[in-house]
Subunit: 363 residues, 2 copies
């Protein structure tokens, strides 16, 4: 049981970077995401299975969702060759060659043992042509069906992934095809991969409207506070993104007014917490001056304290959204949040995103 | 009130790397060491004072000892010029020029507000000539007296530092001179800086015997389990060293049988904890396989979990030593510990030490 809308912190390699499970629980986190691609390469899905499964391995007894590895193969692996059978790719770690098929994606995820698992999908680039996206989408449908058939465990919810790029027609076909196959939940993939924010939101809105109301709708990889709130308004229940934890390690601290950079010299002598209204461990315990000092010295504790703060912010944001939905005031909550929250400049955001995609940095 | 013998984890920059105060308390840590040199350079002792002092700044309400900065000036600063007045040195961070005198060392430490503060001393190299060491020792005595006179706060215990290198005659003169001045405690400085272990232990034994029985005796910078146990046998009460936390971040895990390297492939599929007999959070919660995986992936959580384990080991070691002393069985405890604990090869140890001293790595 997980309350929605929910934001899943990313624990790519079986650890939400810098944190122990108890810290995630203290914040109130109910569910996290782990990456099959990363765990398949290290330590290996068979090792995790032998150690008792991912929950036991990382000492996390709440919900876990694993992605299929598809997105990482398409974004991280330096070389890949797609066929109808599956994808042959090279590891971004040591260049070794590997094969992933829909059947193997399910096998790996059954070995890991997450609560929610994902179909293998083909994720085209945001600027691929209609024809390329169409072929990838159709292949994604065939793979989804094969994943369904490959499933052996009956204690894992299998979610399908709608593809179709920025093409409304393809998104519609994808949603119709996958819902007709019948899955426990539906994800929207292939967004937030470099396209303008307007496109992300429009396609999210169109696609979400085509997905069953009684099944979870999951927008993959969307993670800025403003995008999440906009997407909740468009019917999304589940989000995951490495953004809040990644930017935390760069010193970007979420507040209700927007992101602040704790490395800024203005914090050198600030005795108040980073966010005086915040209830997280970091803000309850330390001054902004201390956190600034830790970042200034590149102390490892800095990354941890900032991560706690940002995940706590995301959790509070989702709680507030949920409360507003239940009380029928989501629309005004959304307006007031967006009015107060200064977002990152769109041009700068896109440039950062492209740079990160090009660098093939994980998480 | 601090139980002795005690080992002080090092929090050079106002943080025991990777840990929060609650984790140190959970282990049972009663006292830590912070470096005046580092805090003077960043964020500045005046900033720490303005933020309410070091205890508040780092949210640590138990005991703190600050060193005077002397040792770091002699080991880290790329350039220094010593005169009777004090030391002019360049920062290892930005090359900026600074002056430290006995009076300033006290002023900085009063601003930080630790419970125990140290005199400024001149620390010669382990292979300096008798004449060089003699001059440094005599200067250390004059500086100790000036530190005493410079003290304004009456709520901080000031400890003197015995110097004299490996020269018994100088050590005796130093101990006699400093005890005649009368301090709250006495440290033995200028050891564990590259000399053979036999020399460290012999000089420790000789010097400790010359220091008052009713005052704490503090052996600076000694931190391997075997050296600590040998030094307790020679009358030492207080230890500090970055070794247990530094080697933890390299994957060296203390056990009662000696150090184990968790990066070793033998741990890939080990379902038991790193040390099945250990009561620390890491061993209670995770398999050796998980810790191995985190190190293998360079995950930040690895450093934290290994640090918890090694500090817990040090704390247990000191508790056992204390219990043995109280029950009059220390000698057999020592023999049985040393018989079971495989120490690092002496030649390898010296080479590592020299390398680290040359690289001027902090902590």
């Amino acid at each position: 049981m997980v309350d929605t809308p929910v934001f899943l912190p990313v624990g790519s390699q079986g650890t939400v970077k810098t944190l122990i499970p108890e810290e995630l629980k203290d914040i109130g986190i109910q569910m996290i995401l782990a990456n099959t691609y990363h765990l398949y390469l290290r330590p290996g899905t068979a090792v995790v299975e032998k150690m008792g499964g991912l929950h036991k391995f990382m000492a996390w007894d709440r919900a876990i969702l694993t992605d299929s590895g598809g997105y990482q193969v398409f974004s991280l692996a330096p070389l890949r060759r797609v066929s109808n059978n599956g994808v042959i790719f090279r590891s971004h770690i040591d260049g070794s060659q590997h094969l992933i098929t829909p059947e193997l994606a399910i096998q790996f995820q059954e070995a890991l043992g997450a609560d929610v698992i994902m179909v293998l999908d083909e994720c085209p680039a945001h600027d691929d042509s209609f024809e390329v996206v169409r072929r990838a989408t159709e292949r994604t449908h065939r793979w989804a069906e094969r994943c369904q058939k490959a499933q052996r465990r009956n204690d894992q919810a299998l979610y399908a992934i709608v593809q179709g790029g920025a093409f409304s027609q393809l998104r519609r076909q994808s949603a119709e095809c996958l819902t007709s196959l019948g899955f426990a939940g539906y994800a929207i993939g292939g967004l937030s991969i470099g396209e303008p924010k307007r496109v992300t939101l429009d396609i999210t809105e169109e696609t979400a409207a085509l997905l069953p109301e009684d099944k979870p709708r999951y927008l993959m990889g969307v993670g800025s506070p403003e995008d999440i709130i906009e997407s909740i308004a468009r019917g999304i229940d589940i989000f995951d993104s490495a953004l809040p934890t990644r930017v935390a390690r760069n010193g970007a601290i979420f507040t209700w007014q927007g992101r602040h950079n704790i490395r800024n010299a203005a914090y050198t002598q600030r005795e108040e917490p980073v966010d005086p209204d915040c209830n997280c461990y970091t803000c309850r315990t330390f001054s902004a001056a201390y956190l600034h000092h830790l970042f200034n010295c590149n102390e490892l504790l800095a990354y941890r304290l900032a991560t706690i703060h940002n995940l706590n912010f995301m959790h509070n944001l989702m709680s507030k959204a949920r409360t507003a939905i239940l009380s029928g005031t989501f629309s005004s909550f959304k307006d007031s949040f967006l009015a107060g929250y200064k977002t990152t400049d769109e041009q700068a955001r896109l440039e950062q995103k492209q740079k990160r995609l090009k660098s093939r940095e994980p998480g």
